[in-house]
């Protein structure tokens, strides 16, 4: 009895997108423009201040562009597009 | 065909003996009627009106005891006094 089995349907949902290799890398940071999407959480802007300074000083990043996000609301397409156009790499933040 | 299984009843034996309600009175004339006020809004007014009707129309006498809180039971002492003094006790619930 205990060893009997039955067939059931898997309840777990999966996204239909097949994984794509999205990861892109830079050859180096020298002269690059880095974008930060600030999640608006306390202190994150300070962390970005410090990272900006260090990235420029230590790795020769040419400039940092910032977009400040409103709380837990997703960043709009327009904002992402504008960041993508300006930057060589984008860094986002989550958590507080 | 599905076989039967036996399942257990999840409720409890009340353990509360079926008690008979004490005998009815032979009317209200001359009787002492006690009220326990549940302290809900307007219940005091309802009792006041009822007491007035009891006295003027049924020639009964009334006693009122007020519970401090609607949602906790009246103190034993309040009950004991009323039972001692009264032929009929009227309690209230709701608001």
């Amino acid at each position: 009895m205990a060893n009997e089995s039955m067939r059931v349907l898997d309840p777990i949902g999966v996204p239909s997108v097949r994984p794509q290799q999205l990861r892109k890398v830079l050859s180096g940071l020298e002269g690059k423009v880095i974008g930060f999407i600030d999640n608006g959480k306390p202190n994150f802007h300070y962390l970005v201040d410090d990272l900006e300074e260090l990235l420029m000083q230590k790795y020769g990043v040419s400039s940092v562009v910032r977009h400040r996000k409103r709380g837990s609301v997703p960043v709009g397409d327009a904002a992402i597009k504008s960041m993508v156009d300006q930057c060589d790499a984008i860094i986002t933040g989550s958590g507080d | 065909m599905t076989a039967n299984i036996f399942v257990m009843n999840p409720t409890a034996a009340g353990g509360n003996e079926q008690a008979a309600v004490p005998e009815a009175l032979d009317g209200l004339r001359g009787k002492v009627v006690g009220f326990i006020d549940n302290s809900k809004p307007n219940f005091d007014h309802l009792i006041a009106e009822m007491a007035e009707i009891l006295e003027s129309r049924y020639a009964a006498r009334s006693i009122v005891r007020r519970k401090r809180l609607a949602s906790i039971p009246a103190e034993d002492q309040v009950f004991a006094e009323l039972v001692q003094e009264c032929d009929l006790v009227i309690t209230g619930s709701g608001d």
Partner: protein, 432 residues
């Protein structure tokens, strides 16, 4: 991060330790487990300037490395769970013994902690007979994992929850509703807030399915209320991938995350019911999804309109709520018929009640903490302009955002449900 990466730009996320699991799980669920994450200690919000500087110094090298190195591409594609084999659910073999089956659910995290009914093909087929939609039709993609909620997968989770077959159309409409962008399910599911989804039913279907709209309608005891609320939760967790401790980051959560569903008491409602207010016909059946952060009982024996409104507004306005800080659009009141009757007796329409509550519940920005005030300035600038300590903050952008239904049995209680602050609006969908 994924959005940026899709546009072919190197992307990186900085996560505090507490959120690293969310970041990783979500990237994985979306099929991008390879995307890089730099981890900083949690909570960084309480660090002083000096400590932050140290964190930055430690993190900058990681960031440089992660942006320039291709990383562990091996990890990519290893876990077959991230692939969709097709839109139909797979059949799997499980023990038929009830206790063993439930143990398996526990081990696989396929449930909420309660016993579930096995979703056998027979039971699922019986349920699918209650819709004309094809089993493989995608009804919605459920955040934060963006799993495909096909008609069949919704039915599977409904069977597990204990729903009767005829409940299926309600859950199909509910799945569509939660996926509306204005509802911001991603925010509700992955936040540290105790967010959940409250289902409200209106129209003939509520009576037909025996959904409780009276005494104890938010509590236990009714088959439809209990299993519909639970069915949606299983969809959110199993299809949406919001597993507690992984993508679901709720600090404590709330009991409403198990099941939270009732019908509006349309008979006792002195105004037009919710679905009619929202533009549906009285004969339509609808489901409305609301994102409450909890329940607060407004117990008042007030018999006077201005007293009643004053007390309700006083309860709504408090300085630790997300509504005022983020300016969301879904604070909600479930009025008892007795309270609704008092308001209506004085000639107030539902709209008047909302307007009065919206005015009376404005919160002085002075009452917020420094940090919450700064967030409010950031979060609501577009809506309110420059915010000072003298500003009076409205609970929602507009009075109409305050939701009102009438439900429950006799009693002088109204339940206030604060909103999650970042949902633009509760969403209503017709049940077909």
């Amino acid at each position: 991060m994924v959005e940026a990466a899709k546009r072919e730009v190197p992307a990186l996320a900085i996560c505090s330790t507490a959120f690293a699991t969310l970041g990783k799980s979500q990237a994985k669920a979306l099929g991008h487990a390879e995307l890089p994450i730099a981890i900083v200690p949690h909570p960084f919000g309480i660090r002083d300037r000096e400590e932050l500087r140290e964190i930055a110094a430690k993190t900058v090298d990681d960031i440089a490395k992660l942006l320039c190195e291709s990383g562990d591409v091996e990890a990519f594609g290893k876990d077959s769970a991230t692939f969709s084999a097709g839109r139909r659910a797979e059949q799997i073999t499980v023990p038929s013994d009830f206790d063993d089956f439930n143990r398996l659910l526990m081990e696989r995290h396929w449930g909420d902690g309660f016993p579930a009914i096995a979703p056998t093909p027979e039971r699922v087929t019986k349920m699918l007979a209650h819709t004309s939609r094809a089993p493989d039709e995608i009804v919605a993609r459920i955040a934060p994992g963006y799993g495909e909620a096909t008609v069949e997968r919704i039915a599977i989770n409904a069977v597990m929850a204990g729903c009767r077959p005829e409940y299926l159309p309600v859950l199909l409409a509910a799945a569509e509703a939660v996926a509306d962008p204005d509802f911001n399910l991603q925010g509700i599911q992955s936040t540290t807030n105790p967010g959940t989804v409250f289902l409200i039913l209106n129209g003939p279907i509520a009576r037909k399915l025996g959904v409780n709209s009276g005494n104890n309608c938010l509590g236990q005891g009714n088959w439809a209320n209990a299993t519909l609320g639970r069915g949606l939760r299983l969809i959110l967790q199993n299809i949406g991938g919001a597993l507690p401790g992984e993508m679901d980051r709720a600090t404590q959560g709330q009991p409403g995350k198990y099941s939270f569903c009732c019908a509006e008491n349309e008979e006792a409602n002195p105004w037009e019911p919710l679905h009619v207010e929202r533009g549906f016909s009285a004969n339509d059946s609808t489901v409305t999804v609301v994102p409450p952060l909890g329940t607060w009982n407004i117990n008042t024996h007030a018999k006077d309109v201005s007293d009643l409104l004053r007390v309700m507004a006083d309860v709504m306005a408090f300085p630790a709520g997300s509504d005022y800080v983020y300016g969301g659009g879904a604070p909600w009141l479930v009025l008892s018929a007795e309270h609704a009757f008092i308001l209506k007796r004085e000639g107030l329409s539902k709209r008047d009640v909302k307007q009065r509550l919206w005015e009376l519940s404005k919160l002085s920005a002075k009452r917020l903490s420094e940090k919450d005030f700064a967030r409010t300035q950031n979060g609501r600038r577009a809506e309110l302009g420059e915010i000072t300590r003298e500003s009076m903050l409205p609970i929602s952008p507009r009075p109409e955002c305050i939701g009102i239904i009438v439900a429950g049995g006799p009693g002088t209680h109204t339940v206030y449900m604060p909103g999650s602050g970042y949902t633009k609006s509760a969403i209503t969908r017709k049940i077909v």
